[in-house]
Assembly symmetry: C2
Homo-oligomer: 424 residues x 2
């Protein structure tokens, strides 16, 4: 069978707007529901959410042998655990059903009613139950910017940074899906020129523009994965906003790292775009100098040309773009991150999430956080309504978007959008 998802010319009988993230070549996975407590594995073409459970129940996925119960779970974990030898054929079979020349479902209005729902009538849920979440710090420009601001430009990059993908364990429980409003967090901060901390709502609330990926294959404690083996353990990618309370973080993080400055919320996109859908966006490099240790060396193109954007939408206003970055601005790639993460024998599980760290390009309009865009608040961003932003204000909605375009086919993630409410 020819792959529909790999055919640039393939079209769906579902109308797909040219600016849609979801042509028939994408077929990402998520969890939707149209009534309470009835979650189903979903995908999307154009603006139509496809109930994969119903599609299977109606006989459109015949010939692929798997336990259909995985399609009615509140998370994708069991589906992902089927393995790529099952999930990839399911993805291709779905594309085939919706390919323009296939009339089986196209001509069956009754089945369509059970299977298709406009996206604005579906509640998209958190797609995975994240076991462990690790956040890396793998964009060199971001590390350099932060180093310049908090140390000095001469020693901006720490000595260990060029030798290993620096990362830390994050909080999994507070990972939420796009659309969930968040309250400004409270916590301890240290006023300038004071030694006595105060308690109150965070003043320096920030986004961090990141990409995440979801582990698709587990290992046992003691196993080490090479950069080559790591490839097979990635199910797919998400957009990720690693919300940060800069003032809380600054006071708490020495010596054990970020904690409450991050753990109040982190947002992922509702759709996990498979690594297979991103094949055409792979890029080589960058050159890593000094040379990395053998276990971190790799072959092939492990970065992705995915355009990333962030907009701030003040209450009642239009969204205003504040940065354009790209997933290609990664010094350490996912294969290196996984090889490093497991080099000590740490086991990884299906549903674990890894985030890139803030992705900043090499120009000031491509930085991935307000901390960098406003350069610690010294260069406020001016919005069309006349207001300015050093950090995020109550009532602002922060919107992340990401997509690649290859041969006219746009593969995207949908948006990550959250409104910030005042502190409780």
């Amino acid at each position: 069978m020819t792959s529909i998802t790999k055919n640039f010319n393939a079209k769906s009988w579902i109308t797909v707007d040219p600016n849609s993230d979801f042509p028939i070549q994408n077929i990402p996975f998520g969890i939707g529901q149209t009534e309470p407590n009835k979650p189903f594995v979903s995908t999307i073409i154009g603006d139509q959410v496809i109930n994969v459970s119903a599609l299977n129940a109606k006989g459109y996925l015949k010939g692929i042998d798997f336990d259909a119960n995985v399609l009615d779970q509140p998370f994708l974990n069991d589906f992902i655990s089927l393995g790529k030898s099952i999930t990839n054929p399911i993805r291709e079979a779905i594309a085939s059903v919706f390919e323009s020349s296939n009339s089986s479902l196209k001509d069956h209005a009754e089945d369509q009613q059970a299977i298709l729902t406009p996206v604005d009538q579906v509640q998209l849920l958190l797609p995975v139950k994240v076991g462990d979440y690790t956040d890396f710090y793998s964009s060199k420009q971001h590390a350099y910017n932060v180093g310049c601001m908090f140390r000095d430009p001469e020693n901006a990059i720490m000595p260990n940074w060029v030798h290993l993908p620096v990362g830390y364990h994050g909080r999994a429980s507070s990972i939420i899906v796009s659309g969930t409003p968040i309250h400004r967090p409270c916590g301890q901060q240290i006023p300038a020129d004071s030694t006595q901390p105060v308690y109150g709502p965070c003043r320096l609330l920030d986004f961090e523009l990141e990409m995440g990926y979801i582990i698709g294959k587990s290992t046992q404690l003691g196993d080490r994965l090479s950069t080559e083996e790591a490839e097979d353990h990635v199910f797919g990618f998400t957009l990720f906003n690693d919300w940060s309370a800069r003032d809380i973080q600054k006071w708490e993080y020495v010596p054990l790292g970020p904690f409450l400055g991050k753990s109040f919320a982190s947002t992922i996109s509702p759709w996990i775009v498979t690594i297979e859908a991103l094949e055409n966006f792979r890029l080589e490099g960058p050159v890593q100098e000094p040379e990395v240790l053998p276990y971190l060396q790799y072959k092939g193109a492990k970065r992705f040309d995915v355009r990333l954007e962030v907009a701030i939408q003040p209450d009642g206003q239009d969204p205003f773009n504040v940065t354009r970055s790209n997933y290609k601005y990664m010094y350490w790639n996912y294969a290196q991150q996984i090889a490093h993460h497991t080099v000590n024998g740490c086991n990884i599980n299906v549903g674990d999430m890894y985030a890139s760290g803030t992705i900043s390009g090499d120009t000031p309009d491509s930085y991935g956080s307000m901390l960098e865009l406003s350069w610690k608040g010294t260069k406020p961003i001016h919005l069309p309504d006349g207001s300015e932003r050093k950090f995020i204000a109550d009532g602002d909605t922060v919107i992340l978007q990401g997509f690649g375009i290859h041969e006219g086919v746009r593969i995207g993630f949908g948006e990550v959008s959250n409104k910030v409410l005042p502190a409780k």
Copy 2:
């Protein structure tokens, strides 16, 4: 009904050695199995493991209304989720069945066969599925010792340390149960006087003597718990060895905290001792100066007088005690830790685990890690076989024990014991 577990004079018809951690007043919870894939909720009296699922099936827990399926799960999470209004009566009902004057099971040999198994014939499994794991750093002597070694005695305690319980997110996937051998981890280290890291087996493998506790009641994202409310969210306590690779940690941990130096393994005891079983071991204090912010203030006795010991057992030798500490050496208590953890709205879930950080007493023979006991390797510990230890050697078994004694009743945790195998 009089509480058996609160009666110092209560005895079981099961023989309990005076040095046993498990008198009828303890009734901790764990997961056991005697054949593959048949886990059951367990408790223990003396050296007899009680199959709580079988006990219930045979009708000995009549009158308590709950879903019996929770007793046949591979983890305690569903059992714990029943809530204390169910699990506490179950605990009392179990104690009642085994109280010396109760002949119902005592005189029923056939039921006993289904319910009781000698502990050495039961495989004790990881008792909880840990969602998120947080490690604190709450012993002041430990923070001081580390500060002296890596900074200077004048500034040993960081400014934030006295204002908040410093902590970091740890890796949940690699939490294992006592008895599981661990391999010495590999990773990057930086040789003295070099700027070029090397890769290889960790040379400075260490234990950290800690206590952990398990969350018994969840919160929603955005909820804050007061120190008073926190009390109700603790199910019980465990012994915990936070294995540490000091050389890996030293090179990686600035600026984002401990990562691979910890994530290769952490060990908990198979038994979770309920907070109710520790009531008699509560202690007031310590005085916290400077005064803490209002959200960290608390009333009542929130520390526990639990004696803690660590022994090293070289291959083929007897265990040799290397330290005696106590859970009372905590500056920040569990109620403060939980109040702090949730002050930003971070949600907590049943099965989450919180660890104390290394617990060091105020004398050099009560420190909670080899790093401190050998003072960075400058004061090796001499073992009876003539060898010495600065850190842990391959073939060593590290054994943690913990118990309190009140009115002649010893409440303990069983041991946390793991053998260190050579690097893979």
